[in-house]
């Protein structure tokens, strides 16, 4: 009778395909459809307890488990990289409970689960990008009570958010938000893009792929359909702009990708490398040393860097 999954004797015996039972999947699938129908609106769902801790991607995992099938190729990234420990752990989970084929290449993946990044490589129609969301409520800092924030969303009362951003402008001369930068979706719902750097915000706009967001702890699912307006909040005199680096990637030479700073010694030595490991590897494989821009929807969007 005892058949607990243990970290030592790992087995998928006794568990349904993709771990969740069918009723749970149906509940999540219905929530996903409503989420696509109301872009940017947070649909409450009966998140289940997962064998990974809350805050470690349980929302994203439940979404992925509800959409994924044997025909899929799954890519999992954390901080843009396929080989960070939590990405490995989640990939192992799906290999075990769904015998899913995994890949590190964006071009090969049909479902990509991510934490904190949008891949540099442009996505295409039919691909699904699943974001792990620790905290889905963009108004949490302004109205921590759900009972209040639900009302603000219901009546599109987003003035307080603009005021908060303007306080930054008054104090620093610019908006000092650099990740989890709030966006307006389809001109109606204020949405948290999850803690991706604002560098990635423009990629969400008019993306051909399906973007799904899951928060297990807060039990919310939301979505951005393909070809949907996703506008980063800003002001006429302080337009939204993304981060830039003086440096280029030390490996592939990219001057346009999001860079991680790596400390190389204890004497202040450091270098900058692409946070997106697949993008970096692809560039190195194809044309080592060049700094040509790989196609990214970022360039096409309004309000990006000047």
């Amino acid at each position: 009778m005892i058949q607990v999954m243990s970290s030592n004797t790992e087995t998928s015996k006794g568990y349904n395909f993709a771990y969740l039972d069918e009723q749970t999947k149906r509940m999540i699938r219905r929530a996903l459809l409503k989420a696509l129908s109301i872009p940017g609106y947070q649909v409450p769902f009966g998140a289940r307890e997962m064998p990974l801790p809350c805050g470690w991607g349980t929302g994203g995992i439940q979404v992925t488990a509800s959409v994924i099938g044997p025909a899929d190729r799954l890519k999992v990234i954390d901080q843009g990289a396929d080989d960070t420990t939590n990405a490995i752990s989640i990939r192992r989970f799906f290999k075990k409970v769904a015998q899913i084929v995994t890949t590190e290449k964006v071009d090969e993946a049909t479902v990509i689960q991510t934490r904190h990044r949008v891949p540099e490589t442009a996505l295409i129609e039919g691909q699904i990008l699943v974001y792990q969301v620790p905290q889905p409520e963009p108004l949490r800092g302004i109205a921590p009570r759900q009972i209040e924030s639900r009302k603000l969303h219901a009546y599109a009362e987003y003035g307080a958010m603009q005021v908060t951003l303007y306080e930054d402008v008054a104090r620093f001369g610019y908006i000092a938000r650099i990740y989890e930068y709030p966006v307006m979706v389809n001109g109606r719902h204020l949405m948290s893009p999850s803690p991706i750097p604002k560098f990635d915000n423009p990629k969400m706009q008019n993306n051909p792929a399906i973007q799904l967001f899951g928060s297990g702890t807060e039990k919310r699912i939301y979505a951005v359909p393909p070809y949907t307006s996703v506008r980063s909040l800003d002001f006429d005199d302080h337009p939204f702009e993304v981060q830039k680096w003086k440096q280029s990637c030390a490996f592939c030479g990219s001057g346009t990708s999001y860079l991680d700073e790596v400390i190389t010694d204890d004497r202040g030595g450091r270098m900058f490398v692409c946070s997106d490991t697949d993008y970096c590897a692809k560039r190195r494989g194809a044309q080592p040393g060049t700094s040509e821009v790989a196609g990214s929807p970022a360039g096409a969007t309004a309000g990006s860097s000047s």
């Binding site: 459809l33 696509l36 129908s37 359909p225």
Partner: protein, 201 residues
């Protein structure tokens, strides 16, 4: 009739309930994500008449004991009720105003769309989803759709719908983010029409 479960006169469901519904869901997800495009199911299911493959697959994929279902007269047959009860376990209602899912085969004879659940202002997701089976997805009048999920515009030709239905739907659009989400089915194909889509004639 093919494989039969337990009771001999109930039509079968998915051959592989887990993987067939996953496959069907991905089609449905695409329909909702890319409104106006026709997506065709890759797996078949032999539902009770007059359900087409797509209508039956949508039921098996989305309905269960948690979904309150309303059946339009033409599909409120013993065979269908037994099939839905057996495979989905869904509670049925005779009041279309409280239904989470409404299943329609004759769109000409349904109550005004304005009477279906459009959700609550703080919970717009608590709204009806309509599964409307139509004679054709290709030779109805030309309509021009735009909105989220559609690059520029797309021109579906859904048949079997009344002008009044389109007018009523246009009225529900003013309630956004409340509203109605529709799937049109025919044969094994589906077209999604979420509440965000703007339809012009």
């Amino acid at each position: 009739m093919t494989v039969v479960a337990a009771m001999s006169d109930i039509h079968s469901g998915f051959r592989d309930p887990v993987l067939d519904s996953q496959d069907a869901f991905r089609t449905v997800l695409s329909c909702n994500a890319y409104p106006g495009r026709t997506f065709t199911l890759s797996r078949s299911v032999d539902g009770p008449s007059p359900f087409c493959i797509a209508t039956a697959a949508l039921c098996l994929t989305l309905l269960d004991f948690e979904t309150l279902v309303w059946l339009e007269d033409e599909v409120r047959t013993d065979k269908i009720v037994d099939w839905l009860t057996f495979h989905c376990g869904s509670p049925l209602t005779k009041d279309h105003r409280e239904a989470q899912f409404a299943i329609v085969a004759n769109a000409q004879s349904i109550p005004s769309l304005l009477e279906f659940r459009t959700g609550e202002i703080e919970s717009p997701e608590l709204s009806s989803t309509l599964i409307v089976q139509v004679p054709s997805l290709v030779d109805g009048p030309v309509t021009r759709w735009s909105g989220p999920g559609i690059r520029d515009s797309i021109c579906p030709r859904i048949g079997g719908l009344s002008a009044q239905l389109w007018l009523d739907r246009e009225m529900t659009r003013e309630l956004y983010p409340r509203g109605l989400d529709v799937f049109f089915t025919s044969g094994s194909s589906i077209v999604g029409l979420p509440r965000t889509t703007n339809v012009e004639f």
